[in-house]
Symmetry: C2
């Protein structure tokens, strides 16, 4: 019998088109409450739906004292549910050092690369991960106070490529209450209590204080705002597509754009078109608000050239020219 939570997750799946007829889903499981609930909910929904859970995938990052306990728990869960499980050991610290990433970034990169690899191996067209409305609210608030722009305020997407997030509209507390009612257990991650981590501090200090200001939980409202901003952003990006096709050319040592055409764009589209071109030039490097604004100053006739991640931008013969660093004179 399906519970209210099953129905709620099914509505999220329908609303965002997360699954297709006959989808084969690989579920990422850490052993925490969110991913354990995700596994159990999808397993139940698969019995009533037109998709299959093809197995679980667990990444043992080896970063915590409880890593092996968590792996054993996930193996037990898979056995209990009669599902195959793929497990890998991560070399996070080495990867972080090698690629100059934070431990968190390195762990994320390794995890998603493992999931994509395993999904291909087992013929899965979807990878389900356990992000909740709590994660959404924390992400959006963090982006807001760090100044990320509308893209950041859009928060975590319900779907990106094969990755789907069926729990994105459910609160963690609802998931835990449901697991308890089902008599199901999960592993607590004690590092979630460490307030030297900014995100934990946001969750443990700032959000409760905000809840007291409001007399209620702000997470639902924040997630809803994020969804609206995301819809605006997605439509604006779709409008940019046709302008990119019309105005932007690649070739030689970089990217060229028709100057008058870019100047004539309304600001929201101009910013997004420039950001796309700058991201293409930058490769892995991060493009900031200030880089986009520096190029916009150039468009308004201020100065001759600006340095940007991966190269530089200048005006030349009616064109805005983005030149890759290796090909430029610098």
């Amino acid at each position: 019998l399906l519970t209210g939570l099953h129905q709620q997750v099914r509505r999220t799946i329908h609303r965002h088109g997360l699954l297709a007829e006959g989808s084969r889903v690989l579920v990422a499981v850490s052993g925490g409450s969110d991913s354990v609930a995700l596994t159990r909910l999808l397993r139940d929904l698969a019995e009533h739906g037109s998709f299959t859970v093809v197995g679980l995938a667990h990444m043992n990052h080896g970063l915590r004292t409880t890593s092996d306990r968590d792996e054993a728990f996930c193996r037990d869960l898979a056995r209990h549910l009669g599902l195959p499980i793929q497990v890998a050991q991560g070399r996070v610290l080495e990867y972080a050092a090698e690629h100059r990433l934070s431990t968190e970034e390195a762990a994320r990169t390794i995890r998603y690369s493992f999931l994509e690899d395993r999904a291909t191996a087992v013929g899965a067209d979807r990878i389900a991960v356990g992000h909740t409305r709590d994660d959404q609210a924390e992400t959006v608030l963090m982006k807001l106070v760090r100044g990320a722009g509308p893209v950041g305020l859009s928060g975590i997407y319900p779907r990106r490529g094969r990755v789907i997030r069926p729990l994105l509209e459910v609160s963690r507390s609802a998931l835990r209450a449901w697991l308890e009612r089902q008599g199901a257990s999960w592993m607590e991650d004690e590092t979630n209590e460490d307030i030297s981590n900014p995100r934990n501090r946001l969750r443990l200090r700032v959000l409760p204080e905000l809840a007291e200001v409001l007399g209620g939980d702000p997470r639902r409202a924040i997630a809803q705002v994020a969804a609206l901003v995301r819809e605006d952003s997605e439509w604006l990006e779709s409008q940019v597509d046709t302008h990119v096709e019309r105005l932007v050319r690649r070739g030689g040592a970089g990217i060229q754009a028709d100057l008058a055409g870019v100047q004539a764009l309304p600001t929201p589209l101009q910013r997004r078109l420039l950001r796309r071109a700058l991201c293409e030039l930058a490769g892995q490097a991060e493009v900031g608000f200030e880089h986009v604004e520096a190029v916009r100053a150039l468009l308004r006739g201020k100065g001759g050239a600006v340095d940007v991640p991966g190269g530089r931008v200048e005006l030349s013969a009616g064109m805005l020219v983005l030149i890759e660093r290796k090909a430029s004179s610098k």
Copy 2:
């Protein structure tokens, strides 16, 4: 001699086109640091610019024990600067009771109505008010956690009608430091320390906690995000204009919109068009996210009619029909 702060305010004025050649500005002054700095900054800039400060306007709401002290301070300031001042007494509590508003809402309504009235009387085409980047950040954060959508995230506008906000990109601490360096005084409003007020609690508790999470002041980032979301929103609203003209008719007992045309709009434009129509129907009443969504459910073929503020909405003969309450059968 103009200071760095003068230059910064002048940049805000230019960037947002707050003043026109020959503008006549009435400055709203409470006696607090923000409005005192605003008065002094604009008076100085007027000497180097092409606009005039035609006088000050002070509203004595009579709500605080210090109301009369603040009025006397503002009269002294005007005398010292050689500017005329208009003062009025507000009847906030009576107005709030009569119109069922909160004290804060009533005070704001009375204040702006007084300012507009005085501006007309003295032939001012601009009313300058002292909102700062701090006010902006607090407003945006408050709207986010209350779930206001992209409109709310846009925060306070640099200009709305005659009202301009030249300090919207300056921090309160910068204004106070400047006033101190100028040897200028202001009145402290002790009610700003009352943490039973949600906005004060946000300022005194939540924002400092966020600053610790980040290792820096989040206000600048929040205000910048708000500016970007505002630009997106303004352009999206301009796109809605043509669709309103094409699809919406007024007449009879309400508003009619072409059903197929509204259904065909991309979601961001559809939401905004429906919100405008609902706001027109609602008059003073507030239109929420849930009202817009209820009408969108109707568009998707769910149910026959929905109640909304000021009336109801139904589908009839290929039209979306908004019927005013007094004319409906209810």
